[in-house]
């Protein structure tokens, strides 16, 4: 059988978790509804049957305590994976994350490790509104001692969840719910990508674009469209928010002289803010235009679809921003926009775009 086959991001997470749990008996799982018919959007489905139900621990609706429990188990030889249906529910556990998970190794002078994975699902759509669709990655990325990753594509979903389980540190593994549906080639065997920095997924010299999570998919669509008219952008999927490794991005900006960042979260105090400032510090004299940041505007997410028309960054918005600093003939720009609109085929903005099928 072929090693690579096409599966969804969500299936890739499940496969990675299952293989990692089979290989290492110290892996244990916590989640609300760990064995329920949905099993965290299918990502834990039947894993208990394979590895033993005693390693699939039903988590009462007690997020702070159970996160602490997972940290305690991690201190004493287990590798817990705790999965949250929405990042908001993990906010109840912020105390344990910030005060304990992030600090144990440091404060104990290296005597303690916290090999913990916290899966935080972010998302958007279907009017979920202010308290069920936030993108709070920069909150977690703030703390030294945590590793924060945001895979975008199915192959990374598997390789990075395995890397997260293998890691000796607390890893916050942030999944965009809309990425869950993306389909692409994923190796069947057990493999780790490591928790390693940005990956260049398009090579070009027009502009350096750095995207996180689901925004990588929107940016990829733009890169493909521009490629068809002979404009090549250099696109990075950031993948790892902390520890932040910017070498490749700095080198790219030295080449292109232009930088665009795209966040799934708020623009203000977002990941883009950190990238832009850190990259400029190291490439100031190479910049030809002011860097651009894209992200959410400064207000909570309203439920009504009519209020979010300009809220989320999409490929059209990305294309427009790029066209402000890269030479693209107006007629070509219009034509590209039209083709993206056609591809979108009038799907409403509050449901996932079925367009994102690999190979990535």
């Amino acid at each position: 059988m072929k090693n690579n086959r096409s599966i969804s991001f969500g299936e890739a997470i499940r496969e990675g978790l299952l293989q990692a749990s089979e290989i290492d008996p110290s892996v244990i799982h916590f989640a609300e509804g760990v064995e329920d018919p949905s099993a965290v959007f299918g990502t834990l489905k039947d894993i208990g049957k394979e590895i033993g139900q005693n390693r699939m621990i039903e988590m009462p609706v007690s997020e702070n305590a159970l996160t602490g429990v997972a940290i305690g188990a991690a201190l004493t030889g287990k590798r817990p994976v705790i999965s949250f249906h929405r990042v908001e529910f993990a906010m109840l556990a912020l105390e344990q994350i910030a005060n304990n998970a992030a600090k144990f190794h440091y404060v104990s002078n290296g005597k303690h490790n916290v090999p913990l994975v916290m899966r935080l699902i972010i998302g958007r759509g279907w009017g979920q509104g202010p308290e069920h669709s936030q993108s709070l990655e920069s909150v977690f990325a703030y703390f030294p001692g945590l590793k924060v990753v945001m895979p975008a594509r199915p192959k990374d979903a598997k390789g990075m969840i395995i890397a997260a389980v293998e890691d000796k540190n607390p890893v916050l593994f942030i999944e965009h719910r809309w990425s869950h549906y993306a389909v692409g080639d994923v190796p069947q065997n057990y493999f780790s990508t490591g928790i390693t920095g940005p990956e260049r997924i398009k090579t070009g010299d027009a502009i350096t674009v750095v995207a996180t999570s689901y925004m990588t998919l929107e940016a990829l669509r733009v890169a493909d469209a521009l490629e068809r008219v002979g404009v090549n952008i250099e696109l990075f999927d950031l993948r790892v928010l902390r520890p932040l490794s910017l070498e490749a991005i700095v080198e790219s900006v030295k080449k292109t002289g232009k930088l665009l960042t795209i966040d799934t979260g708020f623009r203000t105090y977002g990941i883009g803010a950190e990238i832009v400032s850190s990259v400029i510090e190291r490439s100031f004299e190479f910049l030809k235009t002011a860097p651009i940041r894209l992200g959410l505007p400064d207000h909570p997410t309203p439920s009504s679809a009519s209020l979010i028309k300009n809220y989320y960054v999409d490929s059209i918005m990305i294309l427009e921003k790029i066209s402000q600093v890269v030479d693209i003939a107006p007629s070509v720009l219009e034509q590209l926009k039209k083709s993206i609109v056609n591809e979108r085929n009038n799907i409403p903005i509050d449901v996932p775009d079925p367009f994102f099928k690999g190979p990535f």
Binding site: V61, G127, G129, P297, Y311
Partner: protein, 339 residues
């Protein structure tokens, strides 16, 4: 003071102590029926995909909300959860504003900003609905504190599901409410499930009744599908609270008929048995009361049909209102970030 000693039988003794006026019986019945019919209308229209937000329906749980809501005064304040439609309607909420909110319209009770999970309307004392488990509980305590400081004879209600008992914030709130002797009514609707997970997989086999007791909070445990029992128990609880005896806890046993979130039945998934569902369906709060009122000749088949018809008309008006209402203007999305 009705302090349960961990027994399940303290129960519905309250309802034996009073006979309701006809008018009250009718009002209770008609409100339950209204909640049922509204929720069913939402369910049947949901697939039109015009209500573009998650909905948590209260079908099967109408008696709990109605009994509590009708015992409260207009000035009392309610803090609810993700499952708030029934709480709002029983608190004198405006049906049209609720449906418009679910349709994401400018005429919704909060202009379409929250949708079904955030129904709020302070004008009728529906202070907030918060879709984070347990999150509304301390707000009710704070509201009670505020009214106490001002000398207002107002009770604040914290609605909670059985899962809230698992959150630290519930216990922290109960502790403070009792410590400060605050006029708070905790209303726990135990429908046995948190999403797909039965309470026995989330909590040890001790009775929930022992928990308020441990916090020193008096409680009544009652059949949450028996509207008169819920109503009488709530009146009793409120009496106790208004006599400055501090917080009170109502534990109401009930059952959600449809899926946790959404319009469908989901017994086919296998997380609960068809038999369990049927047993609870036999205890249908609306149907039970309909039978009782028919037997007592408070309603007849004809007046019942007429009532149903009138409610259905009201519902049609509300849905028409919602669907004909404008969407909020895009430029207003940025409003109200700061006061």
């Amino acid at each position: 003071m009705l302090l349960s000693k961990g027994s399940r039988s303290v129960n519905c003794l309250a309802n034996k102590l009073m006979t309701l006026e006809k008018k009250t019986s009718l009002a209770l019945y008609s409100n339950m029926l209204k909640i049922r019919l509204v929720e069913e209308e939402i369910a049947s229209r949901y697939n039109e995909q015009e209500m573009r937000c998650p909905v948590h329906l209260s079908i099967g749980q109408e008696a709990a909300a109605t009994g509590v809501g009708f015992a409260l005064t207009q000035k009392d304040k309610v803090f609810s959860t993700h499952r708030s439609h029934a709480h709002y309607l029983a608190k004198g909420g405006d049906l049209s504003k609720m449906i418009a909110e679910i349709y994401g319209r400018a005429t919704g009770c909060i202009g379409g900003r929250g949708g079904s999970m955030h129904i709020m309307d302070p004008e009728v004392g529906m202070m907030a609905s918060i879709p984070i488990v347990g999150s509304c509980i301390p707000l009710a305590i704070g509201s009670a504190l505020s009214d106490t400081l001002d000398g207002n004879p107002v009770v604040s209600v914290a609605y909670l599901g059985d899962a809230s008992i698992e959150e630290g914030v519930f216990h922290e709130s109960a502790n403070f409410a009792k410590l400060s002797n605050l006029p708070v009514l905790f209303v726990c609707e135990n429908n046995l499930y948190s999403v797909y997970t039965h309470i026995s997989e989330r909590q040890p086999p001790r009775l929930i009744t022992s928990i308020p007791e441990a916090h020193g909070i008096p409680m009544v445990h009652c059949d949450g599908n028996d509207i008169e029992a819920v109503y009488a128990s709530t009146l009793r609880a409120l009496d106790n609270i208004r006599s400055q005896n501090g917080p009170f806890f109502l534990l109401l046993d009930t059952y959600r008929w449809r899926e946790h979130c959404g319009p469908n039945f989901d017994n086919d998934l296998g997380y609960r048995s068809e038999q369990e569902f049927m047993e609870w369906k036999m205890k249908d709060p609306v149907e039970q009361y309909r039978k009782k009122l028919l037997a007592k000749k408070i309603i007849t088949k004809e007046t019942d049909l007429e009532l149903t018809d009138n409610i259905q008309k009201e519902i049609t008006v509300a849905f028409d209102f919602a669907k004909n209402s404008p969407f909020p203007e895009l430029e207003t999305a940025i409003n109200h970030v700061y006061a």
